[in-house]
Subunit: 460 residues, 2 copies
């Protein structure tokens, strides 16, 4: 990347808090880089700088700030100044900011907007949270079937300047119903007297404003477009969604899944920005649930106290056996959760997945069982006292338990996401620690049951 670090001269201006010269330097940088350079200024200093910039440039740079910094900066600005920037912002970026603010702050700022922008802002905020409507901008350019290419170009010159994109134009009928999308390339490559109706192919894909944002991610993934139109229930064109916002949604989704897989609630805020109290709360809930579940291991162990006191050697392999089950379960669960999230595995595939996972579990279990038995045998030959005279039986107990536990871990780890999805829950909730806890308890039961059978009459 070019320009991705702060030049020495700019660094000097920043240290000197020379706002006038700073403004000049920042104006000729890509806005994303300018914003990065401003990071070390305080919100109040940023507000001073923004006051010096022309509104357009200020709004453009403002859009590149992280949401948290936008919030802080708005606080540092006066109401009037904040409204000026909000007025000039792209409607989709503005919605993203407004929905983060406390309700009364949001209401006050919306009141300060110009009448036209206020209408737009209220309309977008009216869509349900996490719906495509909240991602949308209304700044698209629509054209009519009867126009010629030269009329379209004329229309662009007159009304194109404040539109989010001119890369795709939208053909609508008198009632505002979306008929087709036409890429600017098709307009540019055509003779000037050709009519729009002759250009268009009638092939288009539209999103629905009230659908979940995940639908938008799937659609962009599938159709490889940079912008998609959004329609209401009646097919009327109400806005467009651009791919940059969708990249953010996709990233956010992956982050949430990863956090759930790690065994916590999704944070909803960047790690470095979230308050320590909230961070701990998001983690404590699941940790407590898992701890309560894990308490069943103490109950199970108490149940087998007799066996352990007769054969203390059994206790030695408890961590090894339950963790092997937990590890294979974590593997299977994360694998299936991610495959589901990106559409590689669907609900109806559960049977095929189970088939594969049984075979995987058996193979993996046999491998670990072999290593475990080898280890016990070797140790017993090197140190005859290690596991006593009945070491072949102990080796067999550990081996069979490992096979059973790994198979069970793999199977429950892979099937749990299906079960959760079938119940309408988020498959990612079957986190690695959740599966591990489940398998810990059952793993103990498997182990001591196997020991009960094999060591009956010798150690037990």
């Amino acid at each position: 990347m070019e320009n991705n670090h702060i030049s020495p001269s700019l660094a000097k201006l920043l240290t000197e808090r020379n706002f006038v010269e700073m403004k000049a330097e920042l104006s000729v940088m890509p806005p994303a880089d300018a914003v990065e350079a401003m990071e070390e200024l305080s919100p109040v200093e940023q507000a001073v700088l923004f006051r010096l910039l022309p509104t357009d440039k200020a709004a453009e740079m403002f859009e590149y700030l992280p949401l948290e910094s936008q919030e802080k900066l708005l606080h540092a600005m006066g109401n009037e100044e904040a409204a000026k920037i909000l007025d000039a912002m792209a409607p989709d970026d503005r919605t993203a900011l407004l929905e983060e603010l406390p309700t009364h702050v949001c209401a006050r700022l919306v009141d300060c907007l110009s009448p036209k922008e206020r209408l737009v802002a209220l309309k977008l905020l009216d869509y349900p949270e996490d719906s495509i409507g909240r991602l949308m901008t209304s700044e698209f350019l629509s054209i009519r079937d009867s126009w010629t290419v030269s009329q379209v170009l004329e229309h662009i010159r007159n009304f194109g300047s404040d539109r989010e994109t001119l890369n795709v134009l939208y053909v609508v009928d008198r009632g505002g119903r979306l008929l087709d999308d036409v890429r600017i390339r098709e307009i540019l490559l055509c003779p000037l007297d050709k009519k729009v109706s002759e250009l268009r192919d009638g092939i288009f894909t539209a999103l629905h404003a009230t659908d979940d944002q995940e639908t938008a991610v799937d659609a962009f993934r599938k159709y490889d477009r940079t912008v998609l139109p959004v329609v209401d229930r009646h097919g009327g064109l109400v806005g467009i969604v651009t791919v940059d916002d969708v990249l953010d949604v996709a990233e956010q989704e992956a982050t949430e899944d990863i956090q759930k897989i790690g065994g916590m609630e999704q944070l909803d805020e960047p790690y470095m920005d979230i308050s320590l109290g909230l961070l701990i709360r998001k983690r404590a809930t699941w940790l407590i649930v898992l701890f309560l579940g894990e308490m069943l291991t103490a109950t199970a162990m108490a149940h087998y106290e007799g066996s352990i006191s007769k054969a203390v050697v059994l206790a030695m392999f408890v961590p090894l056996i339950i963790s092997s089950g937990g590890n294979s379960g974590s593997q299977a669960a994360t694998l299936i959760i991610r495959a589901m999230a990106i559409g590689e595995v669907r609900l109806k595939d559960w049977w095929r997945v189970m088939h594969r996972e049984i075979l995987s579990g058996l193979t993996l279990g046999l491998i670990l069982a072999a290593i475990g038995m080898l280890r016990i045998s070797l140790w017993s030959m090197l140190f005859p006292d290690a596991y006593g005279e009945h070491w072949p039986l102990i080796a067999l107990t550990v081996g069979i338990s490992l096979l059973g536990v790994v198979l069970w871990g793999t199977l429950s780890g892979s099937m749990l996401p299906f079960l959760l999805k079938r119940l309408g829950l988020d498959p990612a909730t079957s986190s690695a620690p959740f599966v591990a806890t489940l398998v810990d308890v059952t793993g103990l039961i498997i182990y001591f049951a196997v020991a009960g059978v094999i060591l009956q009459g010798t150690l037990l």
Copy 2:
């Protein structure tokens, strides 16, 4: 989404294998949907259908097929036919396919390409794997400073038809050095006699062809663009990268991270397509490594065999204690790995993170310790025989151990990703199971050390 399911009439044609009518229906659908409808045909049948389609349409639809299906379809086609489609494909999509094929198949197909496309294909394949060069297409449109807007429009009409995008044009000098990017909107909104040099602002961001693809993902995330230019070492414009390919890379990266967090090697292929043998191999490696690490628990337990045989009650809490450490470690590790992947946390933040994680670990540890001690006290009051007369000491042992283990789990889980990154390794390798295993062994040592101190003279 509109059109996202197969119409009854198309379903009928598919069942009847009526290829001629099918071709007519598929031609008027968005290519992504057409390709989805074709999924139920065999590769040989798909080849028949592709033969009926005009080459342009065939190549367009072909680009939307998953890589695995593209491979199968190429096998089912004749060499000549395959070359015709590869010739018409976008260079970036073609590279993605060719790099997946066995070397000899790739070489044979490249030989069949037209001389011009062969050159392009070989040049792109010459860039290192996972470099931006492999994502790039050379079909950009470059313009010159001295041209007027009307000359630019003329140039577009003459040379624009086979370019990947006309949304952004690139200003280069005589030597092909990139001077600026100009969005088509700026061209369209300007008087026809204005010169390119008057339009441009000199603000642009370029990627480097040999940089890692992750750099491209970061740049698109930061600059919110739909397309970015790629330059060579000398600043010469060599290609462009479009955001759709970057969305795929970002998704692929998230998938790899999730799989590593789950404790396995990245699969590199969709779950349902990967062969069972390879699937098991990718999982077995890490499972075996973890198992070998976990064997240390058996060694540790053997070391404490004397304590256990004196106080069997200690064995009962082993699973509870080590799993609490594992769970808190998994949480911390996944949290930090993801925050690093999306740039929220950088290496230099390790000190601040450690500070936060110590506080989190202490709080979480205190919570679990309190619950654990409460549980033991309650049980001892309800069932006086449960843990014997010394239950307050046991409760204290378990409580202190839980605090220590959770603190240690949180700390090592959060610091391990930093350590790995510092060593130039992938932070995601510090998977949840890896941290859990590490914490299991140390957790046992903490537990028995605490027991040794507190129970000295009573139970031990």
